[in-house]
């Protein structure tokens, strides 16, 4: 009997011991896991300077809430367009999240990205912002983050007031009254600043004319390609003809570094400057209360570009990357960004009270009845056509004439056919 009891006791002892070991192991695992440092995410985007600083405030808030560190690396446009896709196609790599403003780039690189259907609530965003990054199967490849509108010509209120200038309501007033008046102001070099270094300042200006003189549908047609509209179409020729007239009249400056041109606008060397709404946060704008804009007279549309956050397919920290993208697409992060200025939210749940005064004006303008937001032209088409567009506009700006204009439109048509088909 005692032998049998001894055997049972040994079995029970062994079972208890095993249970203790398992429980201890689980406790150690969770304790160890909770005290381990969280991984550090790597994020790429195009922002530098003030925009980078503002973005890092939102990232800091994310880190505070989740304990997940984020390291941000600013990229050049060239790097993001050309080199980063090469990385994505050849893992392993370090980057977890990329923020890019080109829907075509996201579409081309979708084989190397992770869908975000489980991260983003589509109803939080307008359809025309979600649809460009959604494929036919309903896969959502990117989360909308920042909206930049190109609402019109920016100017200093005090410059207009001091020189008796008024905002034009028609194109005729703009061309025949305002521009000559600006040019006549002492110290002014040219009426309109033109930006360079990268190609988008000129292309944004050209889009302002396309939408303003041709209507938003014209831009949408051009984005579809020659099957919808040729660049040699009479309506397009008319738009560029008007632009060329202003260039020939010397109202535009020679293209120069776009940030330096902002500083010159502030110094009264130029009267107006077609730019995106993000400039309200830049240091060259010394007093945002003195900044204002007017839309292209008579326009029925406004070009907008969206910065989307994507998760790489072989992200080193996939779960944490999803948390970050969910955060960036959410109202909290976007409200932080909005409060810093120069940022328009894509999430519809961000209250208008969060915006600065000037940004609120931009949002109100873009939401006006009869105003249609259209995607940025060259960001939508992309590829070599975008490079050609930027390059040809520089040619038109520096050698304006009817023959140059015709050559430019022919070149754009050739490039469009080669990229988008006839």
């Amino acid at each position: 009997m005692s032998k049998k009891l001894s055997g049972i006791s040994k079995t029970i002892a062994a079972i208890v011991l095993i249970i203790i070991i398992i429980v201890a192991g689980v406790l150690v695992y969770f304790y160890y896991g909770s005290t381990q440092p969280k991984p550090t995410l790597t994020v790429y985007a195009l922002w530098t300077g003030t925009e980078q600083y503002n973005f890092e405030q939102a990232l800091g808030n994310f880190t505070q809430n989740t304990g997940i560190n984020v390291t941000y690396y600013g990229q050049t446009t060239e790097n993001l367009l050309v080199s980063v896709p090469q990385q994505l196609a050849n893992p392993p790599y370090d980057v977890d999240v990329i923020i890019a403003p080109w829907p075509y780039w996201i579409s081309d690189n979708s084989p190397y990205l992770t869908t975000v259907n489980d991260v983003v609530t589509e109803s939080d965003f307008p359809a025309n912002i979600i649809n460009p990054v959604k494929d036919e199967s309903g896969n959502l490849w990117a989360a909308p983050f920042k909206l930049s509108g190109k609402p019109g010509f920016w100017f200093r209120d005090s410059f207009f007031q001091d020189n008796g200038l008024t905002v034009p309501t028609t194109y005729d007033e703009f061309k025949n009254t305002l521009l000559p008046a600006i040019k006549a102001v002492p110290g002014v070099e040219q009426a309109i600043a033109s930006g360079d270094t990268v190609g988008w300042p000129l292309s944004d200006t050209a889009e302002g004319f396309i939408i303003g003189l041709g209507g938003y549908q014209l831009q949408l047609d051009l984005e579809k390609g020659p099957s919808a509209r040729n660049w040699t179409d009479p309506q397009v020729e008319n738009v560029f003809g008007n632009l060329t007239d202003l260039l020939e009249a010397g109202y535009f400056s020679t293209p120069a570094d776009w940030e330096a041109q902002l500083a010159k606008l502030w110094d009264g060397k130029y009267g107006i400057y077609w730019q995106g709404s993000f400039i309200t946060t830049l240091p060259e704008i010394q007093d945002v209360n003195d900044l204002d804009f007017f839309p292209f007279p008579g326009t029925n549309g406004v070009s907008g570009s969206v910065d989307y956050a994507v998760i790489t397919k072989d992200a080193p920290h996939l779960n944490e990357a999803k948390q970050l993208v969910q955060y960036l697409a959410g109202a909290d992060a976007q409200e932080i960004m909005v409060g810093q200025g120069g940022f328009l939210a894509t999430n519809v749940n961000v209250p208008s009270s969060a915006y600065t005064t000037i940004d609120k004006k931009v949002v109100a303008f873009m939401g006006e009845p009869g105003m249609t937001i259209v995607p940025d032209l060259d960001d939508t088409i992309g590829g070599q056509w975008q490079q050609t567009f930027w390059d040809q506009l520089k040619l038109l700006w520096t050698s304006p004439s009817t023959s140059t204009m015709n050559n430019v439109l022919e070149a754009l048509q050739t490039a469009a056919i080669q990229q988008q088909g006839p």
């Binding site: 020679t254 120069a256 070599q384 490079q387 390059d391 040619l395 430019v408 080669q418």
Partner: protein, 308 residues
């Protein structure tokens, strides 16, 4: 019975794979992977369509030479003499302007500074252009040619030509020329240093004999110095032309081949077509064209060098 050595396969293997040749195998493997294979793959790719993968023969070459947005030879514009003329033509213009200026100024500076006090310091300053990375050189020229910040325009204003000031690289008629002028400054030091070395090799007795015979300085230069620098000149010309054919960095930084393709060159168009256009087949075609030109020219110059 002794085996016939000549029929023994190992005999030939042992004769071929000597110890010294065995040491070459790692380098050979490296060359095969990183040099020969990419060359063969590039040539192969250039004969196939980028979109369909079908064999298209010389279709890609025809496209890049004549039918692209920025063809390498823009025939209509070439006939009218209005830019853009095409990347290949721009490279030839680059050679036509850059080569004689660099060769002559390099020779002139080498002769001038040969026996001058402080000549070494001046040569070092001139040579700075060669050691500066071309990307840095390009950034420098963007500043130098800038309408507001550039010293080129400041100099023009100083001498009373303020009406000519402009951002020289931004305009179709001056973009290519402004980069070429900048590249002359960058590369002249190379010619000067090579010629300086070449001058050291000319026997002093020749100059002494000429002096005794009463030859003028010009005749001494023309009849002794220039002929004796023939092989040096071939080296300078060869290296300079190869440099001009593959020029990329300075074009990329200053103008991106624009405005409107007026400063486009072979190497930049290859980059643009392949990486922005995603057309690797067309980019390969340009690469093959560039390679054939450089190999052809280099082979010709090496042949010239070996002739007396």
């Amino acid at each position: 019975m002794m085996k016939n050595k000549n029929k023994n396969p190992f005999f030939f293997l042992r004769r071929f794979f000597t110890v010294s040749r065995l040491f070459l195998i790692p380098a050979f493997i490296f060359l095969m992977i990183f040099v020969f294979y990419p060359i063969v793959a590039t040539i192969y790719t250039s004969f196939f369509s980028n979109s369909t993968g079908n064999f298209v023969g010389l279709g890609n070459y025809d496209f890049v030479m004549f039918r692209g947005v920025y063809p390498l030879i823009n025939v209509p514009n070439l006939l009218q003499g209005t830019p853009p003329l095409g990347g290949l033509i721009n490279n030839f213009i680059w050679i036509a302007i850059h080569l004689p200026v660099v060769v002559l100024s390099g020779m002139f500076l080498a002769v001038l500074l040969r026996d001058v006090k402080g000549g070494t310091i001046i040569k070092s300053i001139v040579f700075l252009g060669v050691v500066i990375p071309l990307v840095v050189g390009g950034v420098l020229f963007r500043f130098i040619y800038d309408k507001d910040a550039g010293i080129a325009n400041a100099f023009l204003s100083l001498i009373g030509l303020g009406g000519l000031t402009r951002t020289w690289y931004a305009f179709a008629d001056t973009a290519l020329l402004s980069i070429i002028l900048g590249s002359i400054w960058i590369w002249t030091g190379f010619g000067m240093i090579v010629y300086s070395a070449g001058l050291q090799g000319i026997p002093v007795e020749l100059y002494e004999a000429a002096e005794i015979d009463g030859a003028s300085r010009w005749k001494t230069f023309w009849r002794i110095t220039v002929p004796m620098l023939r092989s040096t000149s071939i080296v300078v010309v060869t290296m300079t032309v190869l440099w001009e054919l593959k020029i990329f960095d300075i074009v990329y930084v200053v103008t991106r081949g624009g405005p409107g393709g007026t400063s486009d060159v072979l190497a930049y168009e290859m980059y643009n077509v392949a990486f922005f256009g995603g057309n690797y087949a067309a980019g390969s075609a340009i690469a093959v064209i560039l390679t054939l030109m450089t190999i052809g020219f280099a082979a010709y110059m090496v042949t010239r060098m070996s002739k007396p």
